[in-house]
Amino acid sequence: MLDDRGMDVSSDEEHTLSNNGDASQACFILHKFTKKSSSAVEVSPREPALSVKRKRGGKQDISLSSLSPCSADEPEDCGVWRMEAFKCTWADIEANIKEVFEVLNTRIFKEVQKFIHDILFYDAQLELYLSPKNNSYPHVHGNERSSRRLHVALLCLRNIDSSDHTMTFFKLKTHLKKANYHVANLLPHNFLSKNGVGAPLRSMLKQIVGINPETTDMDILASWYRAESDAKSPIVIIIEDAELCNSKVLAEFVIILSEWIAELPLILVMGMATSGEAIRKLLPGSTTRHLHMHNFMFPSPDEYLEGIIKGVILRPFPLFTVGHDVLRFLLSQYDKYDSTVTSFIRALKMACMEHFMSQPLSFLCTISLDSPLENVDYLWRSVSVLPSMQSKQYQSDRDVDKGTVMALSQYKEQKEKWSSTVNCILAAGNLVCMDPVKVFAEILERQAGGIFLNDANSSLNSDILCNELNGKTCLIPALLKRLRDSSEFTVNKILMKWIELTEYIPEWKTEAQQILNNLASESSLINTTEFISDGCTGSTRTRQLATGINSIEDERQESIVSNGGSSEMNVSNLKDGQMRIHGDAEPLNATRLYGTPSMQKKIGVRMHGRLSASLLEQMMRKYLIPFEKLPLNEALCFQNVSSIKEVPSGAAEW
């Protein structure tokens, strides 16, 4: 009996009851797919342009064309728009994530490829050296050949949990295949004790030779290789996550390969979760002596996360943002859970899904500001009830249209400035050897506490601010301090980086450029060789100098505090080594403050560091405004962290 949806049963209850007889079956079909039932679910025909292409390793085919309504009065179109906005937003985020991984991994892939190439060249040279003129490959000098060891590239994944590298080895295989290498990719489940060494050999032969052999004889590979036209290409065997393999089977496999090294140009690539040294624990000494090992290091999980923060979270587009509480939760997933970027990305996707599911106006995230808005009636009703928009008084539909566009534009502008500011902080942190992920986490903490919005006269490096962070490390004040103490070289680099990153904040760009120009003009007077050293690798001499300057600085600071003045500086007033301190009637002369001309030269550089720090401080106060305080934040920023807290890994107690 078919219902209106085309189901085989008349009602859910009846259907469930009808299955009571199936309770004792291991497996049964609850209902079959019918075209009628599927058409009942589709609200509008699927648009191929919007459907996300499915890729290997990730099920991305979002077949739904509409999301369920958030409220009873929501028009049907809004569900479709929200769905489209989600698809568009997530496709963009995902593309950026893939790009980050690709950029970071390709460097290692190229290194591995170069290593294989060099090994082949080395072997060819050795061949030439050992072979008498009349002998030909491969049956001469068997002893010399067999004494060679199997080259193994150990790729250290730098995390005990290899979830971040599910696609890495597949991509490596593709990369090496492009270079015309014969590649086989073996998985840990190929190396089970119950299947023995036959399973990995069979899988290897299947991938390289392209047949499903009845026996697992290496002669098959050797004869195929001799017959192969492209016989100069090496045979690369990749073993993913070797530490998960059965060590006996792996050892046997390695021995077999090493026995054939004289006949075939075999190279082994092994993924090691912890370190390259783990191979010595994994394989017996009798096996490792047949190996010649070379280590390669993948970027650490922190580096991947940094890339994702910069490439996804700090990207001005799309407009969808996550509130600082949600961001802190995402970071905690990474930091406290398993240190894999996968858990961060999973939680980010859940947040994105939840936002578009629950926020009726979330489709505004991808709306074009140039085209007029549709369905203004509904928009007027929805926008006017948003707490962030209640201060605005709309008289007509046209006002709503205009007001929404203005709010969107304001939000976009603020997001750009926020992203630029955070990027500048991270760039500065990076150049003075601070962990960008930790700096970013502290920015979020400070934003959550509204510390950046405090009285502009209070300094960010004060102890009070440190206490406000519950005794956690105060990286921002430390960063400002290091910036003040930086060498000319570092200040120069930081300013150059800022000019590059402040595309959306012209005034910052101008001021950074001005400081850089001043620095350049002054540096011609100073023997910069004494200062060419960054904060991380400063020479003893530089450190001694910095200590000397610090003591002078401290004295100066005390005099400012005793005068009740602020240390804030105005860059525009800086001319010819003079700086104006607010609260002082007359400009301070560096000579008056610092004494001798040689000292003045050295302190001139220091001054630019101080100016840079001051500029950064001003920008932080001005642009690090939480998204939750902006108009339309309800529609564009996901803030409901409690709704996703238990979804990634369940409740602690149940």
Partner: protein
């Protein structure tokens, strides 16, 4: 009066055993004890005080007394160890009620708060569209919380998951053949493909039972964008039939396949220990949902032994299986012969050793009675086989397990 009916506590039993041991000691032994007591003098003194003066007889008596003393000591120790065994017994060992009677009584129990439970289940209906969206975004759904989630998941599937075939796997069953499950899923997908793509050719090669699990999963992991998908619902992914690592790996590979959307329920608090991180976050890709239903586990518990039923046959069956698996194929065949006889002659008390020997000899399982007896000793030591007195006075061998347990045991030995 009431006291006498109360079962003896281990301490009481121990005291009783000691008393028995004391009474079982021969009278002369007691005498010697008295003599050996501090006030009673020594054996030599008794010897000297003998009226007839026959020292040799006395010596022999003393030896007998010593032997009997040792015997009584070990008897007492034996009684003590039995007491210790009794104290280790569990509530399930008590012969309280017959299983059928208990199940009938249980089926008559009416559960409370029906209305509230129905309201709770209805409230979950508001989340169906959200769950559907999560599934379509590539996540798997993992439902946890107290109560059976069978009706919840099937209601969700029937009302919302109508854009694909839904296949249900009952993980609470004691034994599940994963190969046939994967084949059913692959075959359903093929039929769906044929219907959607409108040709059998476009649907690809039809999966066969002879294909390996990896090949079947590869069929489900099709890269074609136009390919349809199937929903798989696994009730109790932590069930006894699915707990081993290989099965979980197969399920994870299934969940990661492109044409599969995966929903599961779990009930054991330690279920996540079945998965490693990579399996849980990249293959199953779980979205966790706390969905307590407070619905009784009637269907799920049907295959579990009741704690109040006396025999604890399931426990015995498990240990029997372990023992049998460690024995030689011949010994297993001898056990099978006895089991087959017991199943086909359920009214008889058992099979005599002689008859068993004849049957085994006919089947070339044993060449001599000595070999058979060695097998029987092994069986008896592990309590796989017991003997009792038959109507003709002969010892009859029988397997102390219910018929259905024996049948399952035989199936598992073959597996």
């Amino acid at each position: 009066m009431g006291r006498s009916k109360v079962a003896a506590t281990p301490v009481q039993q121990q005291g009783k055993a000691l008393k028995q041991a004391e009474t079982s000691v021969p009278r002369n032994k007691r005498k010697s004890d008295q003599l050996a007591s501090p006030g009673g003098g020594s054996h030599e003194e008794v010897e000297e005080a003998s009226p007839d003066g026959s020292a040799g007889n006395h010596k022999a008596d003393v030896e007998v007394e010593e032997t009997s003393f040792a015997q009584s000591y070990f008897r007492a120790r034996e009684a003590l160890s039995e007491t210790a065994k009794n104290s280790a017994k569990k509530l399930s060992d008590l012969d309280i009620v017959d299983e059928n009677e208990l199940r009938t009584s249980l089926s008559r129990v009416t559960f409370k708060h029906e209305k509230e439970r129905t309201t709770l289940l209805n409230n979950y209906k508001a989340l169906y569209s959200k769950w559907h969206f999560q599934l379509s975004c590539g996540f798997g759904l993992l439902m946890y919380g107290f109560g059976s989630k069978r009706s919840l998941l099937e209601s969700f599937a029937s009302s919302t998951l109508i854009d694909g075939t839904v296949i249900v796997v009952n993980g609470y069953l004691p034994a599940i053949n994963m190969k046939s499950v994967v084949f059913t899923i692959a075959d359903s997908l093929w039929e769906q493909k044929k219907s959607v793509l409108k040709s059998a050719k476009a649907a690809g090669e039809r999966p066969l039972v002879t294909h390996s699990i990896d090949e079947l999963i590869a069929f489900l992991d099709d890269d074609n964008d136009e390919s349809p998908f199937v929903y798989i619902i696994v009730h109790n992914i932590d069930g006894p039939g699915l707990r081993d690592p290989d099965t979980q790996q197969v399920l994870a590979n299934l969940a990661a396949a492109n044409n599969v959307r995966f929903i599961a329920s779990m009930d054991h608090v330690n279920t996540p220990l079945l998965w490693d991180k990579r399996m849980a976050s990249t293959k199953f890709n779980w979205c966790w949902h706390n969905t307590p239903t407070y619905v009784p586990y009637t269907v799920e518990a049907m295959h579990l032994p009741l704690i109040l039923v006396s025999s604890g046959s399931a426990k015995n069956a498990r240990s029997a299986l372990l023992v049998l698996q460690s024995l030689t194929p011949n010994a297993q065949s001898v056990f099978r012969t006895l089991a087959d006889y017991q199943l086909s002659h359920s009214e008889e008390l058992g099979l005599s050793v002689h008859k068993l020997y004849t049957l085994c000899r006919e089947r070339f399982l044993v060449s001599s009675e000595l070999t058979l007896r060695s097998h029987l000793t092994e069986f008896k030591d592990h309590e796989l086989v017991r003997s009792r007195r038959g109507p003709d006075g002969q010892d009859c061998l029988f397997i102390p397990l219910p018929s259905d347990t024996i049948t399952r045991l035989l199936e598992q030995i073959v597996g």
